[in-house]
Symmetry: C2
Subunit: 430 residues, 2 copies
């Protein structure tokens, strides 16, 4: 039995609201495999490939909001798991990977209802951040990142709406890519935020990520633009800790030498042609759309079933419940305007770079004051929401190190330019 | 009590399979409002606008797979309705319309699990096709089309994966548009085929459709290309009944005179640069993807709950259940290749025209032989699957008449060119 102090971060439209809360959780070790060094597995499995293909010899894990036939999907919530029967089909993305030659090694921990970026699940535990064991792994694809970092599998499939692939990839020092919205089928993935959610891949190496995500994207031999322009999202650099910024500038200098292309700083305001800070992507737009959609998907179920919820999620959900839908609708329009601005600016041939997260992983237990949680969430989501509103593919590259801890360096490209991004990453990173 | 002969049309990969089946249905009048001339209402409502806006003075109906707070959503299935509690939030699209000044007049009939194109629901009844009362209304947005045609509301929101807005719009003689995939939020819409499903609008007049769908699309003042090129999908003309083709050619001649642009015939094979007939969009690609995704969404629930099902849906579902997922995965790749080919060919400034359906509405009761059902489904879906694989916006225009019955004339545009299509429609139609 553990006592836990939680700080809720609101998704409301007036910026983050703050509450703290103390509650007793019956067990923090709901379903742990003792042989898993990353403590990421909810269930160890060995699903053999259904055919041979480009993923022969590789294995993967599956975030626990993605269906595996015959095994209950928990959504990071024991209450959800216990009230929903096991699916009789794999998610389509799981079948795609098995049919391309990969083996599935298990289901891995997700944050409660995948509604968090920290990776501390009070029921299923906190997967170990192998490269910084005293620090959080990040979430909500916490088990995906941890399982890949510790060698449970070469890659993992996760989901990303507000940063849930990119943040744990950044904080655990693995590769992570969320593709353009809706490029990968979500059949068999629990509905979360239908306009925003994406299925993507985390991996130990770029070639593994590249092979796996091209199977899911059904990339074929799609021709792509050649790399012509490298932008640097200046607001994201400014929001980042100085040490992260210095490291990112070092990476940009290397990329410039390698490609012969001089990176050009650009602000969010310049991209959309309006005087708005990068944080508007999150605070004025995406976070509010996400709250509205979450009310429809998970919210309806919670209202009817009153499930047991962890303290952090309980308070976050109080703010979801209290959101005024009609007042919030303006955020939908703003999301669309931001998308238009980003789409017309980031044309094929252009990539835009920035640190994936503004910080290294916070120490475990340090997000339990309102101030620290706000700082982590507000700054991180200001950066992750950019690709969210832009519906962009974004690749987090594990090449930065601050105080011995990993931070990701992100390369994003235009909407539907996923294959160009993968090709450009090879070129930029050598 | 009625006796019904049903013919199942398979969504399997080897083309349509045929079975016929006879079953007793307890009641064909599950929930009918006797004051509704179109027999389309599942529940009459009067939800007042939450704010004033561009839809002031207009009213709408809602297909019964889209949530209205406090009212159970049936999905066209009494078994589904009775086992799912009422949602506590409206679907986001309903809230958008109410906040733009529109009033909601009720929930309308959908085909069982929205998995049909004929509009004959054995539990909720067959909405009346006001312009051809002895004929089917088409489905699955049968109640949406019927309610608009009979004046229950000026417009209706429906959903379309394989033609479920366009077919009833065509057969009932109303306007209907499915937008580009995922342009409108699906939060609060029952998950059906996540890669394919779209929310869209049916309406009595173009100006009503235009206003309503721009609210949902959050179109703003998005600039669009000007109309430069009018293509005619020649395979769709050939598949159509001769009388429909003659009418469509008449419409094209008028459009040519009005715009000064000469329509250019083009085949599906020319568009994608491969020797393939238009029917491949459905038979080799979209239908199979749809079957796989339906297994994940509705199929999982059916397997666990063994609900009462109507005879036609029962047999269609037998074919869904029997589909081999691994063998079918090649269809996912083909969908992506077709999308690429269509996307690079139908550039901004281009529209492509064809009859929405190859036929007028079949007489009620005539789809009860395998031959007639196959003919209707195979030919219709060959044409509707084109915008499906292309993820295109398509507008069905009620300007053709054959034997006194309506048929739609479709104008489609490139992926995400929804606002261009709306502008072009005004120009083309005068």
């Amino acid at each position: 039995m553990i006592i836990r102090i939680a700080v809720a971060y609101s998704m409301g439209e007036d910026g983050l609201k703050q509450n703290s809360h103390q509650e007793t959780i019956v067990s923090a070790q709901f379903c742990r495999d003792p042989s898993d060094p990353s403590a990421s597995l909810v269930e160890r499995l060995s699903l053999m490939p259904s055919a041979s293909g480009p993923l022969d010899g590789l294995s993967f894990t599956v975030k626990d909001n993605i269906d595996i036939a015959g095994h209950r999907t928990s959504y990071g919530s024991p209450a959800w798991r216990d009230s929903h029967p096991a699916p009789n089909q794999n998610a389509l993305c799981v079948d795609q990977l098995l049919a391309a030659g990969a083996r599935c090694n298990g289901k891995v921990v997700a944050d409660e209802f995948t509604y968090s970026l920290d990776g501390e699940n009070p029921f299923f535990g906190t997967p170990v951040n192998a490269k910084a064991p005293d620090r959080i792994p990040g979430g909500s694809s916490s088990g995906s990142a941890a399982s890949v970092a510790s060698g449970v599998a070469e890659f993992s499939i996760g989901t990303d709406s507000g940063g849930s692939i990119r943040v744990p990839a950044s904080l655990c020092g693995v590769w992570g890519m969320r593709p353009s919205v809706h490029r990968i089928s979500e059949a068999g993935v629990l509905p979360f935020m239908p306009s925003v959610s994406t299925v993507g891949v985390l991996a130990d190496r770029l070639d593994h990520l590249d092979k796996a995500i091209r199977v899911l994207l059904r990339s074929g031999k799609r021709p792509t633009a050649s790399l012509q322009r490298i932008l640097v999202l200046s607001d994201a650099m400014e929001i980042s800790d100085e040490a992260v910024r210095i490291e990112a500038n070092g990476a940009l200098a290397q990329i410039s030498r390698r490609t012969g292309i001089e990176p050009e700083p650009i602000s969010f305001g310049q991209i959309i042609g309006r005087d708005m800070p990068l944080s508007a992507c999150n605070e004025k737009a995406l976070r509010i759309l996400q709250t509205l959609e979450f009310q429809n998907t998970v919210g309806n179920w919670i209202e009817t079933n009153a499930p047991q919820m962890g303290p952090a999620f309980s308070m976050a959900y109080e703010n979801v419940r209290g959101s005024d839908r009609i007042a919030a609708l303006a955020s939908l329009d703003l999301c669309e305007r931001f998308f238009e601005g980003i789409q017309s600016f980031i044309t094929p041939g252009t990539v835009i770079c920035f640190p994936t997260t503004p910080v290294i992983a916070p120490l475990k237990g340090t997000l339990n004051t309102a101030e620290s949680a706000l700082d982590f969430y507000d700054r991180t989501m200001a950066m992750t929401a950019f690709s969210g509103v832009g519906r962009l593919p974004e690749l987090s590259v594990p090449i930065l190190t601050v105080d011995g801890c990993p931070v990701g360096f992100s390369i994003a490209a235009g909407h539907y330019q996923d294959e160009f991004l993968l090709n450009a990453a090879q070129e930029v990173l050598g």
